[in-house]
Symmetry: C2
Subunit: 323 residues, 2 copies
């Protein structure tokens, strides 16, 4: 018995049985469905959605070890496909580092992550074997960039950088609609920026580099200096000025290295008032060398339009035939 | 009378008349010809070549003001086409900054260059009008990267960075066979790297940024500190250790931002002994975070295989139908 045949049968049955669900009601009857996973260090968001970007169903799973977590993920998709119909493909945006080199023996693996249990986990392979559909994997930030490009703050753009500043600092860059990969994916959270005069004494907390950008500008780095949780740090604390300078340097680097048409910055550290300070410091570090008027536009550096849904919607977009 | 018809007539005539020229003799009889220009601040190299990368004819022109220089360039191609046959298209690798945004009013212009006479020069437009063939423009370093990718040290690679360290510092990056452009092309010569402890007092010479990378690691920056021309600076001078550190930081940035499969570094400042020092400092700044074994290979950072011909051959490759 072919799997798609079985699924179609169950789908019709369930559409009758569960007709009261708003999500299912809104589902265009002839639309194909696609799966999406935002795989994070603390949670996995699993979802089923349409080519138009509507998430018709989703589940949040706490991240445990790979075996337990992936079993729960596969259970979810089995159950979702019984309820909604089969998914044609799955897109996955995951924490990393990931091996994304086609032809590599560990293609699709999470590699040298500090999360020990997840080191050398064949994420894409396990999902492909379990779901028997094509699986498209990229970093969480590349997925978020793709989501914003298709349905959010990057529509009609060819190039976009997506930055998240939270527990760590991640950067995804898309050119010509494709995430940038070479030997591996970008890891711009670990660049060395110039230290702010009022912050010279702080040694930084990156286990690999000490005072690289992530070591001095991530959420835990702010906590290490202020002794406060982010929500308890006063808006007038000088740390925000320092933070804007460091993130402004990151944006200057992005302009000099990639010159994306827009930079979106999200994540738990970001506050509305930070954006203008970051733009100001970016222009300071660029020193009038780059003339493009776009850099001075108030939306050149802005918040992701899809908010927290950027990652899961981006993963969905990766599963689409033109994704 | 159509131009191609006229040219074909003259071509046959001239192949008979000038059969003694080695270049023309070697020309495959059915090969189409393409034009190439490496447009630099001191010289324009103009050439005619084949799809296999053979330059069958070339001329060096001193760079003067745009009117005089471009007139000489057009004269060259008129004369070369009379001798050799018509060119199907022209590829141009040029100094910049360039406007490479399709749809922009100043698309194909040299924009805010410090070379005043060349500011806001419609380089691509003038060549297209003069030669009546398709013109493909990119930066000199992007062209060099494409040349190395097709015929030099980047064959079989998908991504490559080409760095030139001379009067200035330029970086071209190619992903999936295409040069990286967003809002504009990369300008990684102007990033801010961390200052070396033994070089803290030098203010740098970049007119825009003072001590950005170009301001402290270009040829003139070495001259400013040592008071000597490059060829007179002793191999044991500490400046080379400082230079290796700064260029190592650039390479670390390239790995973190683009992770190209290889980095080629050329230009007048480079010496054979610098490469291993740069690789060592790159690995220091990466701090074992990026695991890819390729980074430790002795040829990960190496000299351009095409040497000084990378730029003009790259310009030629841009003119090809699959360039």
């Amino acid at each position: 018995m072919s799997r798609p045949g079985c699924i179609v049968f169950v789908r019709l049955k369930n559409l009758d049985a569960d007709i009261s669900s708003k999500a299912v009601k809104n589902l265009p009857p002839l639309s194909r469905l696609y799966g999406a996973i935002e795989a994070g260090g603390t949670k996995f968001i699993c979802a089923v959605g349409t080519p138009e970007g509507e998430l018709v169903d989703q589940l949040r799973i706490e991240t445990r070890d790979p075996t337990a977590t992936l079993a729960q993920v596969l259970d979810y998709f089995d159950s979702a496909q019984l309820r909604l119909g089969h998914i044609a493909a799955l897109g996955v945006g995951a924490f990393g580092p990931l091996d994304l080199r086609p032809g590599s023996e560990t293609f699709g693996f999470i590699t040298s992550t500090p999360k020990r249990a997840w080191q050398n986990t064949d994420l894409a392979g396990a999902l492909k074997r379990g779901l028997r559909c094509p699986v498209f994997l990229d970093t969480d930030v590349a997925a978020a960039a793709l989501g914003e490009l298709r349905w959010g703050g990057g529509q009609n753009l060819e190039s976009l950088a997506y930055v998240t500043v939270g527990t760590g600092i991640g950067v995804g860059v898309v050119h010509h609609g494709r995430p940038v990969h070479g030997l591996m994916h970008p890891e711009l959270g670990h660049i060395f920026v110039r230290r702010h005069a009022e912050d010279a004494a702080f040694l930084g907390i990156c286990p690999f580099h000490g005072d690289c950008l992530e070591g001095i500008a991530s959420g835990p780095a702010i906590l290490a200096r202020t002794g406060r949780k982010l929500e308890d740090v006063s808006p007038s604390d000088p740390i925000w000025m320092i933070e804007a300078d460091y993130l402004g340097q990151l944006c200057a680097h992005l302009v000099l290295g990639h010159s994306p048409q827009r930079i979106l910055i999200g994540g738990g550290v970001m506050r509305e008032r930070l954006y203008s300070g970051i733009r100001e410091r970016m222009l300071h570090w660029l020193g009038d060398y780059i003339e493009a008027a776009e850099l001075r536009a108030s939306d050149y550096i802005s918040a992701p339009q899809l908010g927290e849904a950027a990652g899961i919607k981006g993963a969905l977009s990766m599963a689409l035939p033109d994704g």
